[in-house]
Subunit: 781 residues, 2 copies
Amino acid sequence: MSSRLLTSLKKVPVEVYPVVASVVGGCVLSGWILVHNFNSSHEFVINKKKGWPYMEEEKSRNEYIKRLFHKENINSGDEIADRRKEESDMSATQTQTTIQGPSTTIDAELDKIKQIFSEELTAGIPEELPEMPQWDESIPHAPKRPITFTEETFKLAIRNALRYFPSKFHAQLAIEFADELRKYGHIYMYRLRPTSYEVRAYPIDVYPARCRQAAAIMLMIHNNLDKKVAQYPHELVTYGGNGSVFSNWAQYRLMLKYLSEMTEEQTLVMYSGHPMGLYPSHPGAPRVVVTNGMVIPNYSSKADYETMYATGVSIYGQMTAGSYCYIGPQGIVHGTTITVMNAGRKYLGVEDLRGKVFITSGLGGMSGAQGKAGVICNSVTVVAEVNEAALRKRYDQGWIMEIVSGLDQLVERLKKARQNKEVVSIAYHGNIVDIWERLAVEDELLVELGSDQTSLHNPYHGGYYPVGLSFEESNQMMVENPDLFKEKVQESLRRQIEAINTLSSRGMKFWDYGNSFLLEASRAKANVMDEKGKFKYPSYVQDIMGDIFSLGFGPFRWVCTSGDITDLDTTDAIAADIIESIMKKEEEKASSETKKREVTKCKLQHRDNHQWIKAAKSHQMVVGSKARILYSNAPGRRAIAAAFNEAVRDGRVKAPIVIRETSNVYDGSHNTADMAVQNFVGDSFRGATWVALHNGGGTGWGESINGGFGLVLDGTPDAGRRADLMLGWDVLNGVSRRAWARNENAEDAITAAMEEDEQLVVTLPHHASDDVLEAAYRGGK
Amino acid sequence: MSSRLLTSLKKVPVEVYPVVASVVGGCVLSGWILVHNFNSSHEFVINKKKGWPYMEEEKSRNEYIKRLFHKENINSGDEIADRRKEESDMSATQTQTTIQGPSTTIDAELDKIKQIFSEELTAGIPEELPEMPQWDESIPHAPKRPITFTEETFKLAIRNALRYFPSKFHAQLAIEFADELRKYGHIYMYRLRPTSYEVRAYPIDVYPARCRQAAAIMLMIHNNLDKKVAQYPHELVTYGGNGSVFSNWAQYRLMLKYLSEMTEEQTLVMYSGHPMGLYPSHPGAPRVVVTNGMVIPNYSSKADYETMYATGVSIYGQMTAGSYCYIGPQGIVHGTTITVMNAGRKYLGVEDLRGKVFITSGLGGMSGAQGKAGVICNSVTVVAEVNEAALRKRYDQGWIMEIVSGLDQLVERLKKARQNKEVVSIAYHGNIVDIWERLAVEDELLVELGSDQTSLHNPYHGGYYPVGLSFEESNQMMVENPDLFKEKVQESLRRQIEAINTLSSRGMKFWDYGNSFLLEASRAKANVMDEKGKFKYPSYVQDIMGDIFSLGFGPFRWVCTSGDITDLDTTDAIAADIIESIMKKEEEKASSETKKREVTKCKLQHRDNHQWIKAAKSHQMVVGSKARILYSNAPGRRAIAAAFNEAVRDGRVKAPIVIRETSNVYDGSHNTADMAVQNFVGDSFRGATWVALHNGGGTGWGESINGGFGLVLDGTPDAGRRADLMLGWDVLNGVSRRAWARNENAEDAITAAMEEDEQLVVTLPHHASDDVLEAAYRGGK
């Protein structure tokens, strides 16, 4: 299919577009049709009356309906497990089954949701207080916040919460909110959590809105709070423990109301979860501007955060929680995939990891992505995990292919897998240090790449389990004898480094995965520093990702707002075709030396992402909204966005991208945040549908500033223009900053970009020699 | 004249506009004509050939020419003093003399400047290194930066500086920059300081530019670096000790080059002084986006700043330095005037301070404005100053009217002035504590209002001089015996509070002027806390200004880019007329109770500013660019901007406004910065010509986040639309935030604004009673 699509894209679409156009003709009012997978073997029916397409096979459709009207209080843990199983099956079988057209039942159900939404989402804070929903034990809930209130802050928290409600409810709510404060350390306003519908991303035309952009944002918010997506959905936390969409359910209701009534002449202003209101603007302006956790820098301690969060005046939006564009674990799988591919390229000089062994540890949370990423890279991947429950979960989810216990068995399995060049992910139930020490004494070097993803941000309270103790023994000791446990952790880290050093001296390549492994090892006095006082091993952020970011490559995500999985297939195919076409086109037209050099480097990155996007569907990583991630550079993003916009016409692709402050800048500017702020503001007037600026991403409150945006591609020429202008800026700003910081890849990338656009004029650095600097430094001595 | 102008504005201009229009007709190409004071007694000539108007009386014109070609290395301190005297005379006599048309000499001189600019400003970093300019002793220079370099940071600073230059110059420049680092703690690149022209705000059409907005920004930058305006012009510091426009002269040259070549399809991106480059955008986008000192919050210590500044990767832009809109001491005179007027209103219940006595201290730096402000308020003002040089300077400048030494003499003079209701400013040469203690024992209460503006941010190193020691004794002791000096300061503060307490108990009203007076007094264990553990006296920021800001009133500045003082007169008159008209109109149409309440409060603020603008000219506060400041609210700013834009047509009014994070919010959000960031981004897509976001204003690095903008009013309908949309947002965002924080004035103001614009929909707070909160808090006990 890809070659046909490519042809059509090149020619001005003849095969695809007329069909889409006719669809559009039938549903201009709702306007939310996405292009379909015309070349697949699926049948499909466009529901012209409702204006959105529906196709899923029978089983999943039943499941779908069930979810739509799912009442949480009749939920049980088993039921959820069943549903998860069902959906996993569904996603596996979806493309192998002939899909039937939508039944009228589905229409009716969505009509009901539409009806509910048209009443509830437009109502804002309800005029009468709803019943208190039952506490749902089957859903994970946030732990109690670590805050001690003074009388003043306690009352302030309640006073601030009450300002959302008329005074007739104050007496009742004050007591209730005080109760929440005492029990949970925060006022979530559970009473306002909606129960007449399940919170999840519905097809976009179900949302009541006066402009399509607003409906798209509603969908994204619902996805971030979907119980299948969010970490603590009832506490409005999407991920990362405290990455919030809102501070409380009143803000949720108020924001949806504003979105339901906003026009293209207004902009909704979000102050750290609080919807300040709608302000007159214009159609070219963002529909929503989000700031999260913006604080005066010297008042950005963790204690400040706890107080500001508890009193409802700020939230920690992480990166994609408070900007409404979280797409589940797929992002981390992709990031890990790219890291491993580039590690192979950089450290082993190979483009294919088949037959190479990658060993690491950790299968909980984000580290759980390692097995899947290793498989997408074609490697033999071994991940050690001490916690059997976590290990089983990943296995059950299909994120790991085999489980091995015992070192002899592991060594046997490794040898066989290497020999046969198997593509396999193996979970080892036990301690990673045992693996390293065993491999260090094997005659044959059985591992090419090594890393570690234990949670060393938190080494003494369960983030790291020392070798020699069982999981249970560790859990006991860390509570009962924390000093001894700390000793054990440090001893374990020293042994781990020792074995890694041995393997490294024999040719293994090891890198730090940004989990403070090297830092904690150095604190444990492990032999991890070189003679210059630097770490012996590189950090992936700096050594691997930095080079990639410098080329302008970074995360590019999109969501198919129809909620239709085949739309996602189509966009995957379009993206793959565009990447192929770009690799060819760029090579052909590269004239200057700089451009040629840049094209060569970029081609490898494009290739990795091509490999990713081709395999992505089969790895079943979609949870919640139908979303995809890949990395691309400025020309790539612009071309993909243009192709989506063109191919879609009256359909829609939303491409939220989050750009982070990153390392690998050599000019001492690593703690500056000008780039993030410039991106945010520059996107805002170049056409973003919404923009967001956050204090702290994965690195924690006060530890970074990052900006992001969402862009609605609705098939109009205007959307195409916006995408082109904004995506060019967004990427090239980051590249410029890296170029100015003397990053060679970035200098090539920005020089190449200037060759193509004479309106782009960027200051480039001259490089000074060490000799000159030495002379200047010694001059005065 | 004002009534005539008002009539014309109301009717659609018939008297004024045709004249302007005809002017416009003659100079479309240069396009930088401002409206003139047609109703004054001045003659005027429009120079059609050059496209800009010129009129000054003969003497000042000579002075003007002299300045244009002034070579600094032939400068002497005396000459500067003479020039200042001359200009002071000029500004005093200007409006009382019939002004002649411009001579051809002037045209020729400006032609020369234009020629020089067309070569130098467009060149950027020169291809050959210019001669090192001579060190100019007559100009104040920044003290050496307080930084200790490591070898790494020392070399990094040089490496970063060298990146602006091709490698053939590196050997020479590295030695030179190392020398600057050792001598000054910073690399200013003195060699690149321009010497073929004097840096100052020239008439706008002298600047080489492809778009008018860029030329306007050039003018503003030049004004900020004018030696008559800037604190340390050669170190690129405009005010506040380290409020920088750039980090070095290479950045200056590069930015002017970019501005000279930019089109309306590009945006210049400024990263903390560094011009990153021109990026494609569109005519509706800002021409320049400035971020200064944006850092990751947890890396915002003073030491971080020193290192980042020294290595050239960040600057402290203060508020108006790094955003190119400093207008000299006028701003602080206005702020002090408004404060004193509102103190009289709030604390004394009077609208006229005639016959009331205001006593304070400090005549250096910003505190120097107190005498002039007191006079504009019609009060009897006494300012104590221990430093005779500072006191003499203010007297010579005409900022103080009389000098008194000796307490008996002061008391005599005070009694007389009170009795005669004199409008007079008196400098007392001596210690403020002596005054307070003497007045405390006088039978008659001789003072109604009291404050203090000693530099208590820096109490032990010259910011405060203790009573009982002479100025010289203090200077000696703080160096030779700092511990004893500290004791003396604290004892002095205790005595000062004691006397103030006595006077307050008898009816004097005292307030803290934001100079940490109360804080340091409490640290000195002075009797300054009430029974609840709060300060006994209010802070002006919270108690006085907060109420004003809540109404939406805040600084509104404009610059007449023709450089013509009569243009400023005209705009003063237009502003005064608009204020009158608004007071009337608002009162007439106030229908709801809220609106009536809001109008009543606003009227008082409008009246203060009317009094200010009527008197402003006579107080001779214009230094550098022809600029004015006043406070207004959203309707006021929009109306004034519209009137300027309309009245000007093809002339130009530039209205930079800086909005600060302020106090007086009751919901615990005082340390959040969402509002500042929202203002910055919201202005950017609503039509600002440039926007800026800063870390730290007057409060210091890391202590605030504040945003600002500049807007070019060029008389086009587009400019009018932008002004209306942006000024509405900019003010009402701040008001919304204060309203949400339960500030009553702000609630009234935003409610009134919503009544007038149905597109504005703002979340308003419900107020909770203390009883409800008490019950909730006790509930669990």
